[in-house]
Amino acid sequence: MLITEHELLKDEIREWCVRYGADRGALLPILQEVQHKYGHISEFAMQQIADALEIHPVEVDGVVSFYQFLHTRTHGRFVIRLCRTVSCDMAGKDRVARQLENELGISFGATTPDGRFTLEWASCLGLCDQGPALLVNETVYREVTPEKVHEIVSACRRSLSAHAPEFSQEAAS
C-alpha cells in the first residue's frame, strides 16, 4: 500500500471512530467498514484500529479471525458463499459446488488469480426451503442448479463496472 493510501485509511478510521465511538464496542462496525471497502482487513488497518480503540493488535486479530465474514487476506471482488448446511446439502449442494469449482477454476477457500472471485463455504444462510442457496456478496441466489452457476458467474463478470450486483432478490419476495 502506498503512503497516501495509508494516510487515507488512517483518516477513514478516525472518521469511523467518530461515527461508532472510539471504544471496543465500535470494533466490529469499524472492521466491517474496512472489510466492505477494501475487501480485507490489512495488517496496517488492524494496528491502526487497535491504536484508535486503545486495544492490542492481537486482540483485533483475535476478533477478525473469529468471524467468517472478516478476512485478513485479499478477497475477490465477488465472494461466492455456498451454503453447505443440511437442507442445502440434501437439495444438491455438492453438484453446485463442483460446478462452481469448474467454472472458476479454483477450489473452495481460494481466490481466482485475477482477484475477481473468492469461493467459500457458508454455514446455514437461512434459505433452507429454497436450497441450494448461495450468496454473491450480499445478494442471494436460491434453488441454484449446476446450469445456473454459469449464469451467475457470467452475470458477475458482466457487471464488473459496479462493485456488486445491486438488486436484491429478497426485496422482491
Binding site: D51, V58, E59
Partner: protein
Amino acid sequence: MSVAPADDAPRAPLSQRVQSVRPQQVPGTLGATVTVTVDGQNLPVPLGTTILEAARQLGIRIPTLCYHEDLCVAGVCRICVVEVEGQATLQAACAYPITAPLVIQPHSRKVRRARRHILDLMLAEHYGDCYACFRNGNCELQSLAKEYGVDEFRFGHVTAPRYPVDRSSYAVVRDMNKCILCRRCVRTCIDLQEVGVLEAVGRGDRTRIATFLDKPLGEVVCINCGQCINRCPTGALRANDPTDEVWNAIDHPTRHVVIQTAPSPRAAIGECFGCEPGTALTFQLNTALRQCGFDRVFDTNFTADLTIIEEGTELLLRLRQALQDKQPVALPLFTSCSPGWVKYLEHFYPEMIPHLSSAKSPQQMFGAVIKTYYARMHDLDPAQIVTVALMPCSAKKFECNRPEMCSSGYKDIDYGLTTRELAQMIQEAGIHLPDLTPSDFDDPFGTATGSGVIFGATGGVMEAAIRSVIELVCGVRIESIFEHADVLPVRGFEGVKYAELDLPAIGPVPPLLAGLFTDWSWLAGARLKVGVCHGTANAHKVLEDIKAGGPFSQCHFIEFMACPGGCLGGGGQPIPTSPAIRAARARAIYAEDTAYEVRKSHENPAIARLYGEFFKDGPGSPLCHELLHTHYTPRGKYIV
C-alpha cells in the same frame, strides 16, 4: 512521611473481562451469607463466593486447570465441573458464584466421567511425550492424568507436531503443540501484564493461541517477562535454555567460568528440591555451584550496591538541575534494573526513555566489572572468562544479548540462567541442594549488604536507595527515622505505592560522593517524593498518571519492576506461582536482609575499594559511564 494510594485509573480493555464473576448485587443482602453444602458438609459463605472457594475452605479438592489465583476467571477448561442439585448440566466450580443455598456433589459419577472425558480430550490434542519435556514431574496436565488414572489415549493422541516451535525470542520458547488452550497465558499477557502479545485466534477446533498475525515472538512487543511461562500448566511455554552452553564452558579446559547469583533465585530454588516456599539456600547454593564446576561464585548484591551508588548519583545530578538550576530535566527518574520493564517502556512509552536511569542493571554491571577490573586484578584474559548469571528472570536472557551490552569489548554477561535451569543443572550433577554444607561467596566481591538482597522484592530498590540517600546527604543514621532501617512504607505487595520523605538537613557528605558538588545546601529542606510499582499493568497506570500530570508526575524517583511482586515473582522462578508463594519468598528475602551486618550500599567496603582502585574518578565518572551505564532504543508498538 505520608503514604497516599494512587488513583485506581481504569485499566485497558481486558480480553476476558466479561468472565469475571461479580456477586449479585441484591439490595439488602450485601455482606450476607448463604449456606452451601459440598459433599454433605455445610459451610456458610459470603454471597458471591465461588463453589471452588467454598470447597477449598472445606478441604475438598476440585481439580482445576484454566483457573489461576492471579488471573480473572475463564471457566473454559471445564475440568472443575461439579454437580449442582436441581441443575440439568454440570457447573464450573471456579466460575459459579454462590448466591443461593446450593447442594453440590463434587465427585459424583457424572462428574468423574465428565472430567475423565475432558482429560482424554486434552490428551488427544496435546502433542509430546512426558519424558521428553521440561515440565516432566511438574506438569498440571500430567498430574491430573495420574489423578484420574489415565492409562490409555482413549480418543487417540497426536503423533506429529502441528506447529513449528517458535524459538525466535531470546527469552521465551513457544511450543503450541503442547498447548491445551486454557488461556492462562492470554490472561497473563493481556490482563495481568497488559502487554497484549498473546490472544486466542481462530475458532472452533482451529482455535489456537497466537501472536499478532503469527509473527515470531522475537519480533512482537513481548517484553520477555516470562509471566506466561510461570502460569502455563504444561510445557507449551518455556524459557530459552542455555544450560548446554554453560556446561560446555564449564567443561572447557581453559575457560574461567564465573557465576553470580541474585537474591530471588536463592530464596526460591529450594522449591525445586521439595522445600517449602520461603526456604533460602543462599550459602548451600555456593557449595553446589562449586561442585558443579564454576570457578568463582559471586553475589549479584555487590553490583546491586554499585547500582544504588550510580543511580543515586544520577538522581542527585538530576535533582540539582531541577531544584537549584531550575533547568528542565527528565524527572521522575525511573529505575532500570528490570529488563522486562525497560523493554515495556521502549515499546509503549518510547517518549519517556529520558526518564530511565542510564545505569545498567546489577547483572550487567557485574559482567562489565568482571571482564575489566577482575580480569586485570587476576591477570586473566577477558576472552577466556565466561560470565553466567543466575537470575529469577527470563528477560535477563534478552538483556545480556542486547548488542550495546559489551562496552568492555566482550559480552558483559554470556549466559543468563533461570532458577529452574540452574536447579536442573544441580540435579544433573547429582547434588541434593538442601543437604549441602553452606559456604561463602568468593572474594573480592564477597561482601554484600542487606540493601542488595532486598532488590529481589518490590520496593527493595527504593528502600536501598532511601537508606543510602538519607545517610549520605543528611548525615543521620537511617535507624533514627526508620526502626531497624526497615523502610516499611515502600514494602508490601500493593500494586502502586507512593511515599514522601523530608530531607531535614544536609550533614557531612562522605568521601564517596563529596566530590559530586561543592555546595550541597540546595538539597536542604527538600521533600523527596518516590513511587514504587510492580507488574507492567501497574506501570501502565503510573505512566498514564504521569502523562496526565497526576501525583506521580511530581515524583523524583520511581521504582518499576515488570513482574508482580518484583524479582521474586520473576518469569524464571520455580513453577507454580501464587500470591502465597511470592509472600513466602519475600519473607525469606527480608529475613536475609536483617541478618546482614552491613545493610546499606554505601557502607559496603568492597564498593569503596572498587571506586578507590578502579573507578578512581568516583561515581558518575566517564569510566563509570563507559562500563556501568547504557542507552536505550525507542521501539514503539508498531509491529512490522
